[in-house]
Assembly symmetry: C2
Homo-oligomer: 250 residues x 2
Amino acid sequence: MSRCGTVYVIGIGPGERSLLTPQAGDVLSRCQVVIGYSGYLSLIADLTEGKECYGLPLGEEAGRAQVALDQAQRGRTVGVVSSGDPGIYGMAGVVLQLLEAMPEDQRPEVVVVPGVSAVTAAASLLGAPLGHDFAVISLSDSLTPWETIERRLAAAADADFVIALLNPKSRQRAWQLDRSREIILRQRTPETPVGVVRNAYRPEQAIEITTLGELPAARVDMFTTVIVGNSQTRCFQSRLFTPRGMVRAS
Amino acid sequence: MSRCGTVYVIGIGPGERSLLTPQAGDVLSRCQVVIGYSGYLSLIADLTEGKECYGLPLGEEAGRAQVALDQAQRGRTVGVVSSGDPGIYGMAGVVLQLLEAMPEDQRPEVVVVPGVSAVTAAASLLGAPLGHDFAVISLSDSLTPWETIERRLAAAADADFVIALLNPKSRQRAWQLDRSREIILRQRTPETPVGVVRNAYRPEQAIEITTLGELPAARVDMFTTVIVGNSQTRCFQSRLFTPRGMVRAS
């Protein structure tokens, strides 16, 4: 249907404006309607001035995607903003899932604009913990059975992946991080270095380097990324890095 | 040593200028010396005009890091450019590995500037294949024993991770991708959707959606990212996405 507009799912990066890409800024400026979690919309308020904005609370991801598709069906150019990269547990998957359910001739175009992800943002503040093979696991069991998450934790620990844990804790989910730590400890020593980054590239940024043994003492909330080193990850002067073997091999 | 300068390890994103962050651009403009793989330096030639530039060939990662640290020890502000994100198999780990080996009082400051990674760039062009837990595995066995890579492939396939394969093939490494496919096929059906992205956000960009069964027919080279869906990944209208369950649960 030629009357259909376009939905841009836009990664705005971790928070700091200097990590929002020019592409994201350009696309935002072309949007007539901008939709997002109210907290993220406020981060980019100056970029959406004069536009129709819909701020929906956390948890209403499907609602946000639906508003976006509805608006685009009316021929409008719509931006859905997602913090970090929109494809990593972000809005891109939700929009595409709803798009698939629509009749083919009524589907608006959907374009995903990548961003600096929460995972790489956290890693950069720690040094280079993701320097070798890694797994990214969300500890939120609100939409994934906890058994699936446990199986992934065990597999990643066993195969010596560096492990990035997203959504490690919230007010409603208090025990998942401790349980994850127990599972990883079956394969790794308590001395395994762990990086804890809260609010990466945001005003309340806090970086903590600890170990798997000491992790329970770290301050962790829903704006935190926890990166657990593998058997090769090293720590010095508050920096973590996982060597690829490059230097030793040459 | 107060005479020491700073090494910035800078992610320049996948290639297209609009995905290079303002932070990366700002930092580059402050550098007196810029070091990188010659192919990447040419991508940002206009940003390094008038600066001292060292272009070293692929494979000389340790050499590049060494030049950077040497220059910073002389008090200079040095940029090491890395495509994508510098922390994912990039230069950040190499620089930190050499930094650790230096006497503590002679170490320059090292700052990592994150970028849009090759993995999320490829994913954005496919839709949202990384919408749920995923593993990133490099198939380059030049510095990692192949047995370790096989173990990770098997673990990731078994625990139903979406799997992003980097460095899938080169002139010297022809069989690793086929072997990886066989390992993943032990746990997944031949119909599993697979996205193949060559030269994401570069002039020769090519996007192919295929299946695990048909993967051998896809064109894959060293500038390709291969993303293998998990049991939940869906494909429609040349888009891949992995639902998080969000929509169904609401």
